[in-house]
Amino acid sequence: MKLEMLSRLNGERAARRAAIIITDIQSGEQRLVGQDAIAQDPLAPLLDLHLTRGKSALVEHDGRQFFLTVQEPPLKVVIIGAVHISQALIPMMKQLDLSITVVDPRTAFATPDRFPDVSLLTMWPDAVLPSLGFDRYTALVALTHDPKIDDPAIITALRSQCFYIGALGSRKTHERRIERLTNAGFIEADLSRIRAPIGLDIGATSPAEIAVSILAEIVAAFRNERRGSA
């Protein structure tokens, strides 16, 4: 692989864009196709298919074997609430290569001392979320269990294609949340996208254990969806 091509691939990733490298296994010939150029490529249908699946693959076309190195944009997580669980979550999420943004308007919680080395926005979710670009590679983790802060974030997420929406709070808290969102015009199909109480049920109690259960649920949501379409 030419260094220039490797560099472009890394650049596309840094810019959060999908890209595919096509390698002719017999000749070693290679080309990089950015997400916007897929439609013009001779292998367009195969590129589309494997990008949707989110998996690299060996394919055949016109009797030749090509390897598709599929690079999806990095997953992004927006955490609402600069709380104790978030402090436990962030180092674990970094291990999984997730891009993280923490949003909390409460200046007592959202301090750089408590959240070093992470994008921390001390703002109300309704003010800042539209600029964060919720797409199918985005997860929302709502952890304040304060409706004034969590609800606007959940509403933004429900109106997007994001692959995961998790909300902290007991079943009772969630019942009241469902009531509010129903009044706001959402239907059951929308509301069933919200995972609440957040996290896989592993009996987690400490903030770190809850973080593990949330992270496992995010991985499952992302991977299972693609496994289903494979």
């Binding site: 692989m1 030419k2 260094l3 490797l6 560099s7 691939l9 890394n10 990733r13 390698t23 296994i25 070693g28 989110g54 998996k55 690299s56 693959a57 060996l58 390897f67 190195t69 599929v70 690079q71 999806e72 990095p74 997953l75 291990q95 999984l96 290569d97 997730l98 991985v219 992302f222 991977r223």
Partner: protein
């Protein structure tokens, strides 16, 4: 993607820019239970330093040896490993799977 494989690709770029000879190994096909998914990367420099993985540690040694040849002659190679392989007694996948690996030089 939920993996650090792309950090491996970033490191490959950095190593090459630092003037090292670098090879990129990629899992291109698997059969049965394979330890790493298709698309997983291992990078190797001319001093046999490496990062990433193409198996659970079963065949890396052999891939690194081949990678040093690829760095030397620049010719990409396809390697295959599995229990049915004649090299199974030396290197092989104890899990019973079979994998094909493409090794190329970063030019």
């Amino acid at each position: 993607m939920l993996s650090t494989d792309t950090d491996v690709l970033k490191a490959a770029e950095d190593w090459r820019r630092a003037g090292k000879g670098v090879a990129l190994a990629t899992v291109i096909e698997t059969w049965g239970s394979a330890p790493r998914a298709i698309g997983s990367h291992l990078i190797i420099d001319e001093d046999a330093n490496f990062l990433g993985s193409v198996s659970g540690g079963c065949v890396e040694g052999s891939v690194i040896t081949e990678a040093l040849d690829v760095i030397a002659d620049g010719r990409p190679r396809v390697l295959e490993f599995g229990v049915a392989d004649e090299t199974a007694w030396r290197v092989g996948l104890s899990c019973g799977g079979r994998i094909k690996i493409y090794v190329e030089r970063v030019e």
